[in-house]
C-alpha cells in the first residue's frame, strides 16, 4: 500500500496531463499541476530548513570533522532568516506608510539586501570563477595525445580554439581571392570558416544524435514510471 498510493497518483497525474496536451479544454491542467508542485516545493522548504538545522546542530554537538563550518552555516542561516522575516532596515512602503513592515524585504538598503549584495553574490561569483581553473586542468588531461582518437580530439579542439581568436583569423587571412584568384576555392580552409564548419556539421550531428537518444530514453522511462513497471525510484530494485 505504501508504494501503491504514490504509483496510482503518478500514473493518474501523468496520463491526465498527456491527454490534456491534446484536448484544448484541459490544456491549462498542466499549469495547474505546476502550481500544485510549487506549493509542495514551498512546503518542502520548511522540511529542508528543519533538516539543515538538525544535520548541522548534530555535527556541532558531535564535534564531527569540520564542525566549525557547520557553526558558520547555522549562524548564517539563522541571521539571514531573521533579517528577512523581521525586515530589518526596511522602510515602510509608500502605499502603507503607517505600517512598519509594509516594505519589501529585498528593498535596497535593507539588511537582507546587504547580505545578498555583499555576501551571497560575491561568494557565488567566487565559486563560479573556480570553474575557469577546473576547465584548464580538465582540458590538459583530455587533450593529451595518447592515441589516434585523442590526437583527433586535440587537433579539432586546437582548430576551434584558434579559429575563435583574432590570431587564428589573422593566421590564415592570406587565403584570400584578392591575393590569388585560385584561393576562391580554398576559403573554407580559413580557420574561422573551418571552426564554423566543424561546429555546424560534425558537432551538430553528434549533438543531435545524443539528443534523439535522450528524447527516446525520456519517453521510455516516463512510460515505465507511469505504468508502474519501473519502481526503483521508490526503492524496488
Amino acid at each position: 500500500m505504501k508504494q501503491t498510493g504514490p504509483l496510482l497518483i503518478t500514473a493518474a497525474g501523468g496520463f491526465v496531463l498527456i491527454v490534456a496536451y491534446f484536448i484544448p479544454f484541459a490544456q491549462n491542467w498542466g499549469e495547474l499541476a505546476a502550481i500544485w508542485f510549487d506549493i509542495l516545493a514551498a512546503v518542502a522548504f520548511i522540511l529542508g530548513g528543519g533538516n539543515l538545522l538538525k544535520t548541522h546542530l548534530k555535527r556541532i554537538s558531535d564535534r564531527a570533522r569540520g564542525w566549525g563550518y557547520s557553526g558558520v552555516v547555522v549562524v548564517s542561516f539563522l541571521a539571514t532568516l531573521f533579517v528577512g522575516l523581521v525586515k530589518v532596515g526596511v522602510n515602510p512602503s509608500a502605499q502603507f506608510p503607517d505600517f512598519a513592515w509594509s516594505g519589501q524585504y529585498r528593498q535596497m538598503g535593507s539588511a537582507f539586501w546587504y547580505l545578498f549584495q555583499y555576501a551571497f553574490t560575491p561568494l557565488t561569483a567566487t565559486m563560479f570563477s573556480l570553474l575557469a581553473f577546473y576547465i584548464a586542468s580538465a582540458a590538459f588531461r583530455a587533450f593529451r595525445a595518447k592515441n589516434v582518437e585523442a590526437v583527433l580530439l586535440l587537433g579539432t579542439a586546437f582548430i576551434i580554439l584558434l579559429g575563435r581568436t583574432f590570431a587564428g583569423v589573422a593566421l590564415t587571412s592570406w587565403i584570400d581571392p584578392d591575393v590569388w584568384a585560385g584561393f576562391a576555392y580554398f576559403t573554407g580552409l580559413r580557420l574561422e570558416n573551418l571552426t564554423v564548419y566543424i561546429m555546424s556539421v560534425f558537432n551538430t550531428a553528434g549533438n543531435r544524435a545524443i539528443m534523439i537518444g535522450i528524447a527516446l530514453g525520456i519517453v521510455a522511462t516516463s512510460l515505465k514510471v507511469l505504468l508502474g513497471i519501473d519502481r526503483s525510484y521508490l526503492g524496488k530494485d
Binding site: F45, N51, S137, D230, K236
Partner: protein, 400 residues
C-alpha cells in the same frame, strides 16, 4: 526675347520646385495611383484547434502582378483601432491568424500594397468572427501519432519480453562498474558519495538518478559501506530517503539504514557546490556517483573528485555537461545509457523490453532522417513541385 526666355525658364523652375515639394509631402501624387483592392474577404474559425486561430481568404487584386503584397489588419470587438497582423507576399490569398483571444470577436481588413508603397482601399469583414475551441487539437495529431507509435512499440516489446522473447543488451561499462566502485570504497574504508543532480523531482533525470541510487544503496548495504547523499532539493531528499530505506530492506539489512545519510544542503547552486566540494576534500570518498541533471557545477565536482583520487561514475542527459564528465570521470553514462540504467541493472524482462521498444523509435527516427534527406535532395535535383510539397508537408506539418 531673352527676358521672355528667362521668364519661361523661371516658370519651369517654379513648376519643378512645386512638383518636388508635392512629391516630398504627398508621395501618392508623385508615385502614382494606389493598386486595386482585393475583394471577397472571408473569415472562418480554424477547425480542430484550441480556439486561437481564424482562417482568412480573399480574392486577389486586379493589380496582382505589380503588387508587393497584402497587408492584413485585425481588431477585436473590444478594441477601437486596427493593427497590422502580417504582410504576406503577392500571390497569397489566404492566411491563418493565430494567438487570438477567443473571448472576443475579431474583424479583419486586407489591403493590397503596391510597388510604390501605396495601399489600396481595404477589403473588410462585416461581422465579427469568434474563434471556437474544439475538443481535440488537430495541430497535434502527428505528434499524437508518433507518441502512440513509440509508446506502442515499447509496450509491445514489454509484452513480448514477458512471453519469453530472448533479449540481449550490449555491455554498459559505467553500470558494470557500480558494484566495483562500492566494493573499492568498502575495501578502503571510505564512504561513497551520491549526487542526484540539482533539479527537483519534477525532472525525469532526477527520477532516473534515484533509480540508480537504489542499486548503489543496495550494494552499499550488502557491502556495509557508508553512503552519503547530500541533496539540493528537500523533495529529492524525501524521495532519496524512501529509495535508500527500501534498498536497505531489499538487501536484508534494514537496521543499517541511517536516514541522516540523506540530507538537504541548499537550493542555491553554488552554495551546494561549495558544501559538496568541502565534503569531498574533508571526507575523501572513494567512489563518487553523479546521476541526474547538472549544470555548471558538473566540472567543479568531477574535477574535485578526480583530485582526491575517487573512482567516479557520472550520468546525465544534459548534452552540454557530458564533455566535462567524460574528461573528469572514469565512466560516463551518455544520454540514453543513463535512462537505460534501471532496466540494465534490474535485468527484468519488463524493463529490458522497454529498451527494445526504444530501438524501434531509433529505427523510425533513422528512416525519417533518410527519407527527409533523400526527398530534399530529389526535390533540389529535379525541381519537382510534388516532391517539394511532400518534403514541406513532412517538415512543416508532421514534424512541427
Amino acid at each position: 526675347m531673352s527676358s521672355s526666355l528667362k521668364g519661361k525658364g523661371s516658370a519651369k523652375r517654379s513648376i519643378a520646385a512645386a512638383v518636388a515639394c508635392a512629391a516630398l509631402f504627398f508621395p501618392a501624387l508623385a508615385a502614382g495611383q494606389a493598386p486595386a483592392p482585393p475583394s471577397g474577404l472571408t473569415a472562418r474559425d480554424h477547425s480542430w484547434d484550441n480556439g486561437t486561430r481564424i482562417d482568412l481568404q480573399w480574392t486577389a487584386s486586379a493589380d496582382e502582378a505589380t503588387l508587393r503584397g497584402y497587408v492584413v489588419r485585425r481588431r477585436s470587438t473590444v478594441e477601437t483601432n486596427f493593427s497590422v497582423v502580417d504582410i504576406v507576399p503577392a500571390g497569397t490569398n489566404a492566411l491563418t491568424v493565430g494567438s487570438l483571444n477567443r473571448e472576443a470577436g475579431h474583424l479583419f481588413r486586407v489591403t493590397a500594397l503596391g510597388a510604390n508603397s501605396l495601399e489600396s482601399t481595404p477589403a473588410a469583414t462585416t461581422a465579427p468572427v469568434f474563434p471556437t475551441m474544439e475538443w481535440f487539437d488537430g495541430t497535434r495529431v502527428w505528434f499524437l501519432f508518433t507518441l502512440v507509435l513509440l509508446c506502442g512499440s515499447v509496450v509491445a516489446f514489454i509484452v513480448l519480453a514477458r512471453r519469453g522473447m530472448p533479449l540481449t543488451l550490449r555491455r554498459i561499462a559505467g553500470l558494470e562498474a557500480v558494484d566495483d566502485a562500492v566494493g573499492r570504497a568498502t575495501e578502503m574504508g571510505r564512504p561513497c558519495l551520491f549526487i542526484p543532480g540539482i533539479n527537483d523531482m519534477n525532472e525525469i533525470q532526477t527520477i532516473a538518478g534515484l533509480t540508480i541510487l537504489s542499486r548503489v544503496a543496495k550494494t552499499a548495504a550488502e557491502y556495509d559501506a557508508k553512503l552519503e547523499v547530500p541533496t539540493s532539493k528537500s523533495l529529492v531528499m524525501t524521495a532519496a530517503r524512501e529509495t535508500m530505506q527500501t534498498a536497505f530492506l531489499t538487501a536484508g539489512r534494514p537496521e543499517a539504514y541511517n536516514p541522516d545519510s540523506v540530507y538537504y544542503v541548499t537550493d542555491e547552486q553554488f552554495g551546494y557546490v561549495a558544501y559538496v566540494q568541502g565534503l569531498m576534500v574533508r571526507e575523501k570518498p572513494a567512489a563518487c556517483f553523479y546521476m541526474g541533471s547538472f549544470f555548471a557545477e558538473s566540472l567543479i565536482l568531477a574535477e574535485t573528485g578526480n583530485a582526491i583520487g575517487a573512482i567516479q561514475i557520472a550520468g546525465t542527459a544534459q548534452p552540454a555537461q557530458l564533455p566535462f564528465f567524460v574528461a573528469a570521470c572514469d565512466y560516463t553514462l551518455i544520454g540514453e545509457e543513463f535512462f537505460a540504467a534501471s532496466a540494465y541493472l534490474s535485468g527484468e524482462p519488463d524493463q529490458l523490453g522497454s529498451l527494445k521498444g526504444q530501438d524501434v523509435g531509433k529505427l523510425l527516427v533513422g528512416a525519417g532522417i533518410l527519407l527527409g534527406v533523400l526527398g530534399a535532395t530529389a526535390a533540389a535535383l529535379t525541381g519537382s513541385a510534388f516532391i517539394e510539397s511532400l518534403v514541406n508537408f513532412f517538415t512543416g506539418t508532421m514534424l512541427t
